[in-house]
Structures are given as C-alpha cells and as structure tokens.
C-alpha cells in the first residue's frame, strides 16, 4: 500500500513529511512524496530545489522507507496533483500540512488542503507545524 504526502519547503510541509515518515515506518508502506508547481511563474518558492530533494532522499533512505519522490510541473494545482497521485496508487493515506488562513484569504486564494480533505477517497491526515 502507499502513503501520499504533499510536500512544500515550509514548516507545514516539513511537519507533514515527518508525520508521513512515522506513519510509513509503522505500516511499512511505500511513501510517495509529491512536490508540485503549476510552473506558470518564473519563480515558485513552494517548488523544492535539488539540494532540498536530495536531503529528503537521504532522510528517507536512512529510515529504510521505500519511497518515490515526484515533482510534477503540468499546470495543475497542488491539490489536483496530490489527489491524482493518491488515485493512481490507490493510496491508503494522504498526509498534508495545514497552515493558518484567514477566511478572507481562503476566499481569495482558495485552499489546497480543503480541496484534498473534501475530495480524497482515502483518510487524510492533516498536521500543523510546531
């Protein structure tokens, strides 16, 4: 079985990854790390760069977890990428990080987490940054 984690290089993303590693160790599942960008801006700070990905790779290998890291840039938003990955791999768990958002901010920007929570076919574990 597979656990899908939505990763972004922020405290929330790190918290989600840490939690996902713990879950994967417990159940001995494959961990699928998704870090995506729409790719429509020249600069996207939520898209992890090479050194970041390498350190995650090392960290996962250290824990002895079977893992796949994917960084799709297809013009889809992050929620769609995580949900797609979960569907394709018949994931039994999705792990995401939550951040504080004001109601107005959510109205304007939408919420990736909310969409994943509402549309996922499997349990979703939402964690907050410490």
């Amino acid at each position: 079985m597979t656990i899908v984690v939505g990763y972004v290089p922020t405290p929330e993303g790190e918290a989600a990854l840490t939690q996902a590693i713990a879950e994967a160790k417990k159940s001995n599942d494959t961990l699928l790390v998704i870090n995506s960008s729409k790719g429509d801006a020249l600069v996207d700070n939520r898209y992890a760069q090479e050194p970041d990905i390498q350190s995650i790779e090392e960290r996962l290998a250290e824990h002895g977890i079977q893992h796949i890291i994917k960084q799709p840039v297809r013009g889809h938003d992050a929620a769609a990428e995580v949900l797609d990955a979960a569907d394709e791999n018949e994931a039994n768990l999705i792990v995401i990080g939550l951040r504080r958002r004001s109601p107005v901010g959510k109205l304007i920007m939408g919420s990736v987490s909310q969409r994943i929570l509402l549309e996922a076919d499997c349990p979703v574990l939402a964690v907050k940054a410490d």
Partner: protein, 512 residues
Amino acid sequence: MDVWSSLMDGFATALTPMNLLFAVIGVLLGTAVGVLPGLGPAMTVALLLPVTAALEPTSAFIMFAGIYYGGMFGGSTTSILLNTPGESSSVVTAIEGNKMAKAGRAAQALATAAIGSFIAGTIGTALLAVFAPIVVQFAVSLGAPSYFAIMVLALLAVTAVLGSSRLRGFASLALGLAIGLVGIDSVTGQRRLTFGQPLLVDGLDIVVVAVAIFAVGEALWVAAHLRRTPLHVIPVGRPWMGKKDWQRSWKPWLRGTAFGFPFGALPAGGAEIPTFLSYVTEKRLSKHPEEFGKGAIEGVAGPEAANNAAAAGTLTPMLALGLPTNATAAVMLAAFTSYGIQPGPQLFSSQGPLVWALIASLFIGNFLLLLINLPLAPVWAKLLQLPRPYLYAGILFFATLGAYSVNLQAFDLVILLVLGALGFMMRRFGLPVLPLILGVILGPRIEGQLRKTLQLSAGDPAGLFSEPIAIVVYIIVAIILAWPFIFKLIRRNGPAKKPLLPANSGAADYSD
C-alpha cells in the same frame, strides 16, 4: 543658447511636480519590465504610446526615458539573483553575477551593478548632452545622399552585426521594409500593397505594428511555452559594498562606460557588444583572474556600467540624427512622429525645450533608479513570482485597447492579430525582431531621402554618390557586408576561435 543654460532650462521643466511624477512612474515601470524576462522597455513604450497620446509630449518622453533607463537597471537584478537575464544586455552580467550570488555575495553584486549603472548612466548622459549638439552641427550640413547612406548603414549594420544569423536578420529586415511600404506612395500617390483594401491606404499605424510584434507576439510565445520548472530566487538582504569592493569596482565602472557610450552611439551599437567587450577586458586586466568564473565583482561592475552607458549613447543618434539603433529608441522615434514632431537634425532647434527636458530627466531618472534599486532589489525580485497568465492577460488587454484607440477602427484589431501571429512565428523560427521594427520605422524615411536624392539628380543613380560622406559610408557598408568572407579567410589561416558566449547563456536577441 549654449549647452549649459539649455540643460538648466531642461532641469527646470523636468523638475516640475507633474513631470517628476511621470519620471517616477517611468522608472518604476521600467524597473519592473526590466526585472521580468521577456518584457522589455520597447514593448512597454509601445504599449504606453496610445495611452500617453493625451499627455504633453514632454511628460510622455520623460516617462519613456525613465522606462528605458529603468529597464537597463532592472535587467541586472534578474541576472544576478536568478541566472536568467531580464534583458539581452544583461546576459554577460549573469555570468559572474549569479556566481557571486551563489557564493553569498548577492548583496555586493547588486550594489556594484546599481552604483555602476548610476555612474555610467550619469557620465553617459553628460556625454550625450555634450556630443549631441556637435553631431547636430555636423548633421545639418549633410544632404539627402549622405543621409540616405547613413540610414542604409544603420539598417544593414543592425541586421548584420547583431543576432546569430544574417539570413534571419535580413529576412526580418525585408519583412519590416515591406510593412513600411504599405499605403500611398508619397511622391506619385500610387497605392502600394493595399490589396484593394481602402483601410490600408493610410498605411499601417506604427503603434499597431510595434504593439503587435512586441506585445502580442511575445504573449503568444509565452503562452506556447508556459510551463517550465520554477526556480528559486537567491535570498538577499539590502545591497551593500565593502571598501574592497569599491576599490575593485570603480575602474571597471569607468572602463565599462568608455566601452558602452561609443558603441551605443554607433549605428550598429546596441548594448550587447560593449558588455561583452567590457567583460573580456576586465577578465584580462583583473588582479584576481582566478576569481573569474567563480564570481568576480569586476565581471559585474564593468558590463553593467557598459550597458547603461550604451543606453545613453543610443540616444545620441536618435536625438541628433533621428536614427534609432535599438528597439526602444525606434519606438521612441515613432512616438515623436505620432506627436507630429519631425525627428532629425532639426529636432534640437525646433523642439529644443523638449529635448533638453528629456536629457535633464535622464539625469533625474538615473538618480531615482539608484534610490529605488539599491534598497529595494529583493522586493523587485518578488515580481518574478507573479503567475505569467495574469501578467500576459493584462498585456494583451492593454495591447488590444491601445491598438483600437489609435484610430478607433476594428480593422486595426485584425492587423494587430495578424502581425501578432507574425511576431509569434518570428520567435518560433528565431528571427530577430529589431530589424523588422527598424525597417518599419526607418523604411519610409529612408525612402523619402532616396526619392529626394533621385529627384535632385533627375533620376540619375550617380546622385547617390555625390557627397564625400556618402561614399565613405558606402565603403563601410561594403566592409560590413563582406566581413563574413574576410573573416572566413582569416580564420582559415589562423586557429579556430572559441565561441564568445556559452551556447546556453540564455541570450535572446528579441527580448528588448
């Protein structure tokens, strides 16, 4: 009136609150489009042409000047922090600048670029103020044959010297000249290339052509290549320089200025060649040659000074002769025409106050740019996070609005789309945009001089060679045209030279 008192009058005009406001708007806009790769001052001025039609010409040109200089400043920020040149003239800056940033010296790289640009821009503008009237004195004595020859030289030189492929350059020039021919023949009144379409009789409006080629073409091109792996901007605080950086920077600044101004002023100038020459010179003269390729401050200071000095230099033939040598100057020249001002040697006498206010505003704009760039470079870099669909949707909106507002004719929108598609195809097949724009803008004027010459000589082509200066210029033209063959001969005898720039340096010869 001597230069000094004219310039002071210019300052008096440029420093009125309204004009100062336009200068501020200009430098802010200019920096923004300079930072964003793909957008350049030429496109911005073209988009603003219809919007500024209601303004005083002086205010409009003060804003355009701010955009032009701002673009030169802004390009360096993207080069240094992202390794993607914001402008074609800051390609060289990226070589050392990005290395410096990666080594944690982004603040110093940005500082030397900004201060060097300021110093070079100020010296360059001063040289412009001194030399332009001298060039005018010389130019007034030129007759139509010499004038024609100089324009031919400018067109050929820009086409043949810049860009990677001569064939593509000349193809683009031919397209431009053809577009310039549309309309009524000024001497005989015959219709040319109108295809029986009465709306084409007045010719294609230069604003529509410029907006279509720069804005619509670029927007379509970006839309076709929207998705790319995003990058991170190298984080940086407020730019500053240590004592050692100053010591290492001031000489490259001055040398860069010395390279930039004359190359900008030459008909085949442009800012790319002097930036590269400056880089090579600094590399050779540096006391720290081992640092080159790993982030040498001289490699940022020199080229950045060179491109700003070249920007000032470009304005010399533009104001003194009515001869643009880069895309922004070409569009500014079109702006003169759309205000009913005749560009050329008469400009200084007929529009003296405007020209001197423009030159004064360059000094002011330069100072403003230093103020907004030095502390705010990291903020400007945030612009790069803007999703491009929003950005280009806005540009297309302005392009359409602008093209329609020129004549209030729906037919102009058809032309906008057709030429926009042409602009897209040109980018697709690597045709440089500059020769086309120069062809459209200079074409009718060059034709006017040719017809005048031939009328004076009663149709005898020998009239083209009736002035000594014309003959000298034709010899230079011949050398430029024959240069590839001479070069091949030399190369056959000597060892093969390495390419000047790395192939993937991101140099895009259409970006400004």
